[in-house]
């Protein structure tokens, strides 16, 4: 089986802090892979590194069979590696549908001429895809709204829909369920597995353990920038390392505080080095 994405020994350093510390990770083609870990573990940094938003200090990222280390973010996106953002990063001055269209249509250098004469014709395949992305995220009725008129949760779903509209080979979702209300979470959770039927693989970061354990084929656990465990949802549920590092946080206050203390200690040690 081939892998759509392979991170090998990927390292990102901020000052003295290794936000990603020699991370090895694989996303098999057509599979649903999750990444979990406590706040500040380096999950977002990992996506940033893969998509070219932060420089890596060591390691490679191999996407669809080729090393993408030298590519600019937009080139990676064009090659089918599409991400969402943890925070809202929408195009506020464009309607919801236009937000998706921007990502969906490719342009050539002469597109502006076609635009000026209003000659660019609609591509029915792309339009259908945009309709599908809106529908699957429950946004069909909001198609002509401005993002600012939607609830916070629906705006996050616009971000996911925009990534879907770009026809990704691999979609990287950074905490898409954070800030969603119950009905919005259900829309998202109910459709996530459907993504796989549309020629894409999925890489999901989320805090909602229930969601991650239920939708993923395989899960990696990140703590202090290091992969501390990996396995199927069943294995992760049982792993003691995961419990200590992450599930403990949810299990009880005391353990969470301990985790916090350990983290500050480690950061202190990092700083001393």
């Amino acid at each position: 089986m081939t892998n759509i994405l392979e991170a090998k020994d990927l390292t990102v350093t901020f000052g003295g802090l290794n936000a990603c510390d020699h991370v090895d990770l694989e996303v098999p083609t057509g599979k649903f892979v999750g990444l979990i870990g406590p706040n500040g573990a380096g999950k977002t940094t990992f996506i940033d590194a893969i998509t070219g938003y932060v420089p890596t200090s060591a390691g490679n990222a191999i996407f669809d069979g080729s090393d993408i280390g030298e590519l600019k973010p937009h080139e990676r996106a064009q090659s089918g590696l599409v991400r969402t953002f943890q925070s809202l990063e929408l195009f506020e001055d464009l309607s919801v549908r236009d937000n998706l269209l921007v990502a969906a249509y490719p342009t050539k250098w002469y597109t502006f001429l076609a635009d000026m004469f209003h000659l660019s014709s609609k591509n029915s395949e792309i339009e259908e895809r945009v309709d599908w992305a809106l529908e699957i995220m429950g946004l069909s009725d909001a198609s002509d709204s401005m993002p600012t008129d939607l609830s916070h949760g629906r705006r996050k779903l616009v971000g996911v829909a925009r990534a879907l509209a770009a026809k990704p080979k691999l979609i990287l979702l950074d905490e898409p369920a954070a800030g969603l209300d119950t009905s919005e979470s259900q829309i998202l959770g109910g459709h996530l597995r459907e993504f796989l039927n549309h020629d894409m693989s999925v890489f999901l970061i989320d805090h909602d353990m229930g969601l991650v354990l239920s939708v993923c084929d395989y899960i990696y656990v990140l703590d202090f920038g290091k992969i501390i465990a990996a396995g199927t949802p069943a294995e992760i549920r049982e792993s003691s390392a995961v419990k200590a590092a992450y599930l403990g946080e949810q299990a009880g206050e005391i353990q969470a505080q301990e985790g916090e203390r350990m983290r500050t200690q480690q950061q202190g040690q990092e700083a001393e080095k």
Binding site: T51, Y53, K72, P73, H74, E75, A77, Q78, V82, R83, F85, E89, L90, F91, E92, D93, L94, S95, D98, N99, L101, V102, A103, Y105, P106, T107, W109, T111, F112, A114, D115, M116, F117, H118, S120, D144, S145, M146, D149, R162, A166
Partner: protein
């Protein structure tokens, strides 16, 4: 070699001015987070006030009497708002008022200007997006420059300076044994700049006010702990900055003309950036350095081996741009963004549907008008149409793409001059009044497109820095580029022909055998009918093209970049290419406007494409609405020389151009606050739309209407 050293040392004179202006810009930035493009204009207004007070004994307050005095209003004898205060009596050549008192009064005036800027402009705009703040400070520039014209006539003054700053003082000879002479006042200016820097530096270092200002820079709450409100600190720093500007203006008056002082802000900006926008000693050093390399550069151009194609004044005026680019390039990412800056909402940019119908309607009306109008009206119509075409270029670049470029009018100038040069074939165009113009003798259409190509290339080069820097920094680079282009490329006889330093005559333009131009040398009169038609068609087609661009994929991409560059690249947009495309399209449109202006005028004057003209055009398109073609159309009609003021002028009393620009500047600032730059056009389409929907729908359903993105035309 020695001449070069002397020139470098003499450069501390102009360097002193740059240093003082740069320090003032730093003060204002530290206090409020705003880079004030109008800082030089404050100096200029104070310099004029000083000269006027010394020569006539009258002080002019920085406003105009808004109650018109024409027609029947004259007979009402309204108690008008005071503008002129007669302070000293019996002022004569040999009885000038007391110097210290005069300076003091003028500095009070500067302080007052600072307060006005704080309370009327920058405090209200403190939560606006960066574009709004830049526009606010351009409004200050434009307003004060216009008030200089309105209150002082804007003419050059012959002030000789006073005591050590006297023009006629014995120069310093053989300084350090280098031979040559250096004006004595250069050393005084240098001393004044150093003294000012030391005082301000001490003020920030050792007084409670200074410490609070530094605290507020980090974090506005910090200042509150020291017992100062951030807004008080901002106001106090505006006053301080303005006083330093006033001092600079008064001290430098004998060296230059007050009308020019406003433009020295470009050197001041270079100095301030050299000081990282926060360091007074840094800004002072930067200013002195800039003055020296400018002086040295000019000295180099006097050598035999120096290529004639780079004129001395051009080199001098290129230096600020060079310094700014180098500083921004070296540490563009690390320049401070002051704590409180909030990225406010951008103006909406709805796509204009029904655009074709609307434009065709407008064309129809314009055509009708042009047929009815007598020849004077046709001239006004063509002025308006050319302005509209130019404003489209700003709609694309500033409105859609969000790149604040102040240089597009210079691109127009470059295209106009290039076109003339390409068309000219050495025949004398007029018998007496214009110089012979040599060139390549290209046919009209070829020269037109050749000029556009040149202008687009230049526009792309200017767009290159935009790939690294954004927001207000781009505005700084582009305003410096205006001065550089004007002096290096336009006023350049080897490059642009002998007329480029006085009047550059336009050869007869003819498209497909038809004469399209204002003044026809064959008939020796203004010949507008065909030209009007030509312009109407051009303006309409370009308007449709720009509106289509907004509706199309590229328009969406531009808006995406304006909203969020990070997200745009995640959506697969090549941000760098799109920005260059925006600069290219905008420069192409600006170039067309420039060529059309050359068609209209019998000859291009050197002053046509100065900073001021470009900023006035920006002001009016912003007032009309920067994000839609309708804004450009409204802006073109409102601006000085456009349909509305000229209509008033013909039917009531003609209105001073300076006054129109001043009113435009006020409108600009108000518009930045009230509509966030969406302008009159969008304001009234909203009004129409809301009225229509209110009429159409039952009242309880109105909540949804704001979602409707389409503009009703």
């Amino acid at each position: 070699m020695e001449a070069l050293l002397i020139a470098l040392i003499a450069g501390i004179g102009a360097g002193g001015l740059y240093a003082m202006l740069g320090s003032g810009i730093v003060i204002a930035f530290r206090g409020s987070g705003v880079i004030n493009f109008g800082h030089g204009a404050v100096a200029g207004y104070t310099a004029y006030s000083f000269d006027e007070l010394r020569e006539t004994g009258s002080l002019y307050l920085p406003w105009f009497d808004p109650i018109p005095e024409f027609g029947f209003l004259k007979t009402l004898k309204l108690n008008n708002i005071p503008v002129r205060i007669d302070i000293f009596d019996n002022v004569a050549f040999d009885n000038k008022p007391n110097l210290a008192l005069t300076i003091f009064i003028c500095l009070v005036m500067s302080a007052f200007l600072g307060l006005l800027m704080h309370f009327l402009v920058f405090r209200p705009l403190r939560n606006s997006p960066i574009l709004g703040k830049v526009i606010g400070s351009i409004g200050v520039f434009l307003y004060l420059s216009s008030m200089i014209v309105v209150n002082f006539g804007g003419q050059n003054r012959g002030d000789e300076g006073f005591s050590g700053f006297n023009n006629t003082a014995e120069p310093v000879r053989n300084f350090l044994g280098l031979g040559g002479t250096i004006p004595r006042s250069n050393f005084y200016l240098f001393g004044a700049a150093i003294l000012m820097a030391v005082i301000i530096w001490g003020l920030y270092r050792f007084t409670k006010f200074g410490i609070a200002t530094r605290a507020a820079e980090e974090n506005e709450k910090g200042a509150a702990l020291l017992g100062y409100s951030p807004q008080f600190l901002a106001g106090a720093n505006w006053v301080l900055a303005s006083i330093t500007a006033g001092i600079a203006g008064i001290l430098f008056l004998h060296k230059t003309q007050p009308a020019q002082i406003a433009l020295f802000v470009v050197g001041g900006l270079g100095a301030a950036l050299f000081g990282n926008l926060t360091s007074i000693p840094g800004a002072t050093l930067g200013g002195l350095f800039l003055g020296m390399i400018a002086g040295g550069g000019v000295e180099l151009t006097t050598n035999d081996w120096w290529p004639e194609i780079l004129p001395g004044e051009g080199v001098r005026n290129f230096m600020p741009l060079l310094l700014i680019i180098v500083v921004l390039y070296l540490r563009g990412d690390k320049l401070p963004i002051r704590g409180s800056i909030s990225i406010g909402r951008q103006p909406r940019a709805p796509s204009t549907n029904n655009v074709t119908i609307g434009v065709i309607g407008a064309v129809g009306i314009a055509l009708m008008l042009s047929n009815i109008f007598v020849s004077k009206w046709e001239s006004i119509l063509t002025t308006t149409l050319i302005a509209i075409v130019f404003m489209y270029s700003l709609t694309v670049l500033v409105g859609f793409l969000g790149q604040i470029s102040l240089v597009q009018w210079s691109i127009s100038g470059l295209a106009a001059y290039t076109m003339i040069r390409l068309m000219a074939d050495g025949t004398k165009i007029r018998d007496t009044d214009f110089a012979l113009n040599t060139g390549w003798g290209w046919p009209t259409i070829l020269a037109f497109f050749g000029a556009i190509v040149v202008a687009v290339i230049c526009g792309l080069l200017i767009g290159l820095p935009a790939l690294r820097i954004r927001g207000v920094q781009l505005a700084v680079v582009t305003i410096a580029a205006v001065i550089a282009i004007e002096n290096l490329l336009l006023r350049n006889p080897p490059l642009m022909g002998d007329g480029s330093v006085s009047v550059n005559p336009t050869p007869k333009p003819s498209w497909f055998g038809q004469y399209v131009g204002g003044f026809n040398p064959d008939t020796a009169r203004n010949d507008y009918w065909k030209f009007s038609l030509f312009l109407i068609i051009t303006a309409a087609l370009l308007g449709i093209a720009v509106a289509n661009l907004r509706r199309g994929q590229i328009g969406r991409r531009f808006l995406a970049i304006r909203a969020n560059e990070r997200a745009a690249s995640a959506a697969g947009i090549n941000v760098a290419n799109m920005k260059l495309l925006g600069f290219g399209i905008s420069s192409g449109i600006a170039a067309i406007a420039g060529c059309l202006l050359a068609y209209k005028l019998p000859g291009l004057q050197e002053t046509q494409f100065e900073v001021f003209g470009g900023l006035a055009l920006l002001a009016f398109v912003y007032l009309g609405g920067i994000t839609t073609i309708w804004g450009a159309i409204v802006g073109g009609c409102l601006m000085a020389g456009g349909l509305l003021p000229e209509f008033l002028g013909v039917h009531f009393e003609s209105i001073d151009k300076g006054l129109i620009n001043a009113v435009g500047a006020i409108g600009l600032i108000v518009n930045a606050k009230v509509t966030n730059g969406e302008g009159i056009a969008l304001l009234q389409t909203d009004l129409v739309k809301n009225t229509l929907t209110a009429l159409r729908r039952p009242p309880d359903d109105t909540a949804n209407t704001s979602n409707d993105e389409e503009a009703v035309v």
